[in-house]
């Protein structure tokens, strides 16, 4: 079902790196879980609409008007590295 290769790929998508041990453990555990999840295929869901969200709420809008907001300092207070109004990060390219 899900191979160590798949687990590697998924880990990359999720921006996670795994040790060889973790890779083996997760492969086994994810397989067990997915195998169990196979039981959903016992159900005929032809014509059944998916429920992503239980409430009949759609497009909850408000006026595009500024209200109370945090100050820049409050927003940047938890920054691991900052320079004035900027978050400092390692180089991207």
């Amino acid at each position: 079902m899900i191979s160590p290769r798949d687990v590697e790929h998924v880990a990359l998508l999720a921006r996670l790196e795994l040790t060889a041990e973790e890779k083996e453990l997760y492969t086994k555990q994810l397989n067990d879980i997915l195998l169990y999840a196979e039981m959903l295929n016992q159900l005929d869901t032809e014509g059944v609409l998916p429920t992503a969200h239980v409430l009949p709420l759609n497009n909850v809008f408000r006026d595009d008007a500024a209200g109370e907001h945090l100050t820049a300092d409050e927003v940047l207070a938890n920054a691991p590295r900052r320079d004035g109004l900027f978050f400092i990060v390692p180089k991207i390219v």
């Binding site: 996670l16 790196e17 994810l30 959903l40 159900l43 998916p50 239980v54 409430l55 709420l57």
Partner: protein, 484 residues
């Protein structure tokens, strides 16, 4: 009865009669914490000084003749995934170990406005992922009833604090049973309101279509009082509902004649401990003797709730937890070569094993080629599960079931097998998938270990849940003493 064992409504009477002060009450709670917290470990952060300041303010206001609500001066523990401005909010994760929110969650604003006394931030499973509170990155919480056993999760700290007298009431969050299960394991009352009834603004998101904040209390009356504080529409949460919040204490009448109680057979089958089954059936009999119409019913898609939940919740979690990247807040790996390396190292070090497992499961379920087979399929099954409940509620007012398949298990018993741990939630998951309200209250024991009974209700049917829960509670001597 010790002050720290009393429910809020009794304590409020004492305060109003000037028999005790809010300060005395706060001190009593902190003394209790000094006595037992080494063993229980319910809290990640304690806020003694601030609590005493708030308590003294309440006393001052009372002396000045100001109006004070029913929960003023009442000590509260708050799960550490609910934002408290200026106070560390960690989600029991290394990722947010030093994160100090610049804002209060809506529920935080509400309990502060009600002049409640914040005792501290309660321990939990990391990012609310777990059923035993063993997934906290810092330390596990123990069950006050038996310290070798788990308090349940993920709101284990909240439940343990209330059970141990280290808080009078608590707030937790429930995505798949995380309020109700620890309530059952610790012998307290825990409720997950209808989805949309309580604002999620300021609740660190796990699964956005399933998460709800709710109270953990010593009795049903306190639960009603807490709902009055936390429920209501919030502009800042677009998934919250505009509705008229009733006074929930108006439902606290032991008169339940003619109410229709359903017993879904799928919740009493194999896998349910005999001692648990006995208590549930016994409770059903008691309700019948009080004049309720009790009958068996079916919710045929029940067993598909677990796999559906673990695809939907993990898919949503993989998206919600993508924000933890070391850029703007939280942990950052400083030895990274470039941005992507920083993301990878930060996330790999910041997240615990269970969190990583769920992120990967969710990512897989949503990935190209698997989206239809897993995520979409699960969403369709969710519709079928919801329809089961809709049908049941045309014939019944509430549904009765166990909260957990067993009593509190021993620490370490299920940590090797994720699926075994997931199975602990079999009775609670469907409630979140359908978005309906659910409450757990103590209904019996196996030896010393509490057994909770679960009541499930229609959307916004918290009133019916409270009525039946109150009736059950009144049947026990302890319950009657509590409401004096």
């Amino acid at each position: 009865m010790e002050l720290t064992a009393m429910p809020a409504h009794r304590l409020q009477k004492l305060m109003r009669r000037r028999e005790i002060s809010a300060e005395e009450l706060a001190l009593a709670v902190f003394n209790r914490i000094d006595e037992v917290e080494d063993k229980v470990k319910a809290y990640i952060t304690l806020t003694r000084d601030k609590a005493l300041t708030t308590a003294r303010e309440v006393d001052r206001l009372r002396a000045a003749g100001e109006y004070l609500g029913p929960l003023a001066g009442i000590p509260i523990a708050v799960k550490d995934n609910i934002c408290t401005r200026g106070l560390k909010t960690t989600c029991a994760s290394r990722m947010l170990e030093n994160f100090v929110p610049p804002y209060d969650a809506t529920v935080t604003e509400k309990f502060k406005a009600a002049r409640m006394v914040l005792v501290g931030k309660a321990n939990m499973d990391e990012f609310a992922m777990g059923s035993s509170n063993e997934n906290s990155a810092f330390f596990p919480t123990t069950n006050p009833v038996d310290p070798r056993r788990v308090p349940g999760g993920s709101s284990g700290g909240s439940a343990a604090a209330v059970a141990a007298g280290e808080a009078v009431v608590a707030l937790g969050s429930d995505t798949g049973g995380s309020i109700r299960l620890p309530a059952s394991f610790c012998g307290v009352v825990g409720m997950k309101p209808t989805y949309g009834a309580v604002s999620r603004y300021g609740l660190v998101a796990y699964a956005s279509s399933l998460d709800q904040i709710g109270p953990l209390t010593k009795d049903v009356t306190d639960c009603a009082l807490m709902l009055n504080v936390i429920c209501g529409h919030d502009r800042r949460d677009t998934t919250s509902v505009r509705w008229q919040v009733p006074d929930y204490t108006s439902f606290l009448t032991p008169e339940i004649k003619g109410m229709r109680v359903g017993l879904p057979v799928e919740y009493l089958g194999e896998g349910i401990d005999p001692a648990v089954r006995k208590v549930i059936l016994g409770t059903a009999d008691k309700l019948a003797s009080l004049g309720a119409e009790v009958a068996e019913t079916q919710l045929p898609h029940t067993r598909y709730a677990l796999p559906a939940y673990y695809l939907i919740a993990t898919a949503e979690a993989s998206s919600n937890l993508a924000r933890y990247d070391g850029v703007k807040y939280g942990l950052r790996a400083n030895d990274a070569e470039d941005m992507v390396d920083m993301y990878i190292k930060t996330r790999s070090r910041g997240f615990g094993t269970e969190v990583k497992r769920r992120i990967m499961l969710g990512t897989y379920a949503l990935s190209a080629g698997y989206y239809d087979a897993y995520y979409m399929k699960a969403l369709k099954v969710r519709t079928l599960i919801k329809q089961d409940f809709d049908r049941a509620f045309t014939r019944f007012d509430v549904l009765l079931s166990p909260t957990g398949p067993t009593t509190a298990f021993r620490a370490g018993e299920k940590t090797d097998d994720p699926l075994q741990m997931y199975m602990v939630d079999v009775c609670t998951l469907a409630v979140n998938l359908a978005g309906i309200p659910g409450i757990s209250l103590p209904a019996g024991e196996d030896g010393k270990l509490p057994i909770g009974v679960q009541l499930m209700g229609r959307p916004f049917g918290e009133g019916d849940l409270l009525r039946i829960a109150y009736a059950i509670e009144q049947l026990s001597v302890v319950g009657r003493q509590s409401s004096e």
